[in-house]
């Protein structure tokens, strides 16, 4: 099955990175993947999107993603400002970085058919990393919402990409986000 994920964040928040980290992890699972940014000249601060495709079979399609199965909102300030749910496929998921409860968010986003998961990635990031870098936390939350990869693969990918202490901290972030993420169906 082909799963399409859209990531929402801002220029500078590592949206491309996280879209690729997920794909890397899926690669370890023996999957086929694509990860690509929104193709535009957007600058730091501006709302941007990234995309990940994961499949058991080789992926031939190279068109854009219009109807993602999953949307991940990395930047909480985008909620309510950008239509993050746009085009979400039927029975899709939204995984958001927010202090709110999932039910509350469901209302704000005005989604009906979708499952909403929430994690307070800001808090986790500040607690563990000491800096407002939310992207890796969202990997943990996403994993909770949908088993697109495994925790093992994520850990492996993270420790390769960020050797040493940074990697370890990010792994901690992911694990905690996995724990803390909650959803409504």
């Amino acid at each position: 099955m082909l799963i399409e994920v859209r990531w929402h964040g801002r220029g500078g928040q590592g949206i491309v990175t996280v879209s690729r980290l997920l794909a890397q992890a899926a690669l370890l699972d023996g999957k086929y993947v694509q990860a690509f940014p929104e193709f535009g000249p957007e600058r730091r601060g501006a709302p941007v999107t990234g995309y990940t495709r994961i499949s058991d079979k080789p992926i031939f399609v190279h068109s854009q993603i219009y109807n993602p199965n999953i949307v991940v909102v990395v930047d909480p300030t985008l909620i309510g400002r950008v239509n993050v749910a746009a085009g979400l496929a039927p029975k899709g998921f939204i995984v958001a970085n927010s202090e709110r409860r999932p039910e509350e968010l469901e209302g704000i986003l005005g989604v009906k058919d979708a499952k909403v998961y929430v994690v307070n990635a800001m808090k986790i990031a500040l607690d563990v990393l000491g800096r407002p870098i939310y992207n890796t936390a969202m990997l943990g939350a996403l994993l909770k919402a949908a088993p697109l990869t495994t925790m093992d693969s994520l850990i492996k990918v993270i420790s390769e990409r960020f050797p040493g202490a940074v990697g370890e901290k990010n792994i901690a972030v992911i694990k905690r986000a996995y724990e803390e993420a909650v959803g409504v169906e």
């Binding site: 220029g11 000249p41 957007e42 600058r43 730091r44 601060g45 501006a46």
Partner: protein, 307 residues
């Protein structure tokens, strides 16, 4: 001498552009527009300012604005200037038009230097402004001829074998002055008064004039966006960026820096220099420091200053 109260409130470079938050080039564009004296055509090279200010169907410009390519800003300006000259002569046009070419350091020091050199040689009446953020920012922070020694960029990374850019920064003003133009100057947006005064002065010149202005880029130089102007001030105060002008070959130091702040303060605020503070990079750091000292000495000597 300019008073902020007297500057026009109208913005000819409007909000709604997509330069990064805290982009110094945005500040520079606004200041430039506040210095205009009449009908103006801006010719803009490909680069951050161009890309971020004119994403179809939006434009931030309220003067006539033309972008043709990356490397030919001065040539395009030449053509426009020549055209208005002959159209006036033939009675088909009846106004003075100021032509301002605006390009980044990449579009000036590297790929655009030939077009610039040619236009200076031919003596077109235009003002060329190079906003220098010391790398190709639009394409993602690649080194340019303006990148300082040791700085890390994506094509001169802080590598294990080579720690940042091995070469030194080109002397744009020296090159322009060698073309015998009437007016050339450096500036920093922190010193808005100096900059706006210079733009106005340069526009008055009959022939080519060049202004080389430091453009703080929080993304490419890696500092906090709120520090853009602080950066631009510190560059001057550490003697990294001498602010001077050259009129008919005569150098004049516009901002004296009798008690410079330590260069390290300036370097440390920027992520692109982080690696220089590793013990392995001591030599690079020393070379950079030496270059800054020597550059200051050379310029101030040309200005007849003794420091």
């Amino acid at each position: 001498m300019v008073r902020l109260q007297d500057l026009p409130t109208e913005e000819l470079f409007t909000s709604g552009h997509r330069l990064c938050a805290g982009c110094g080039a945005g500040t520079i564009m606004r200041m430039t527009m506040k210095a205009l004296r009449g009908p103006t055509v801006v010719v803009n090279a490909t680069g951050c300012v161009e890309v971020a200010s004119t994403i179809y169907p939006y434009t931030s410009w309220k003067v006539s604005w033309v972008h043709i390519a990356f490397e030919n800003t001065a040539a395009v300006a030449s053509g426009i200037e020549a055209a208005y000259k002959v159209l006036r002569r033939k009675g088909l046009w009846n106004k003075d038009v100021d032509v301002i070419a605006i390009a980044g350091d990449g579009g000036t020091f590297d790929i655009g230097i030939q077009a610039l050199s040619g236009a200076l040689e031919r003596g077109h009446d235009f003002l060329y402004i190079c906003y220098d953020n010391e790398a190709y920012m639009n394409t993602g922070i690649q080194r340019s001829g303006a990148t300082p020694h040791g700085a890390a960029t994506t094509t001169s990374p802080a590598g294990r074998k080579i720690p940042g850019k091995p070469e030194f920064k080109k002397d744009l003003i020296g090159i322009c002055v060698a073309h015998g133009i009437e007016y050339a100057a450096t500036a920093s947006p922190a010193y808005w008064n100096d900059y706006i005064t210079k733009v106005r002065k340069a526009l008055e010149v009959n022939g080519p004039a060049v202004i080389h202005v430091l453009a703080p880029c929080p993304v490419g130089m890696r500092f906090d966006p709120s520090k853009s102007i602080e950066f631009a001030r510190l560059a001057v105060q550490t003697r990294y960026w001498p602010v001077y002008e050259v009129e008919r070959g005569k150098y004049k130091l516009n901002i004296k820096v009798p008690q410079p702040k330590p260069l390290l303060e300036f370097l440390k605020m920027q992520g692109r220099f982080t690696h220089l503070f590793q013990p392995e990079a001591q030599r690079e750091l020393g070379e950079l420091q030496r270059w800054v000292d020597e550059n200051w000495r050379r310029i101030t000597a040309l200005c007849g200053e003794t420091t």
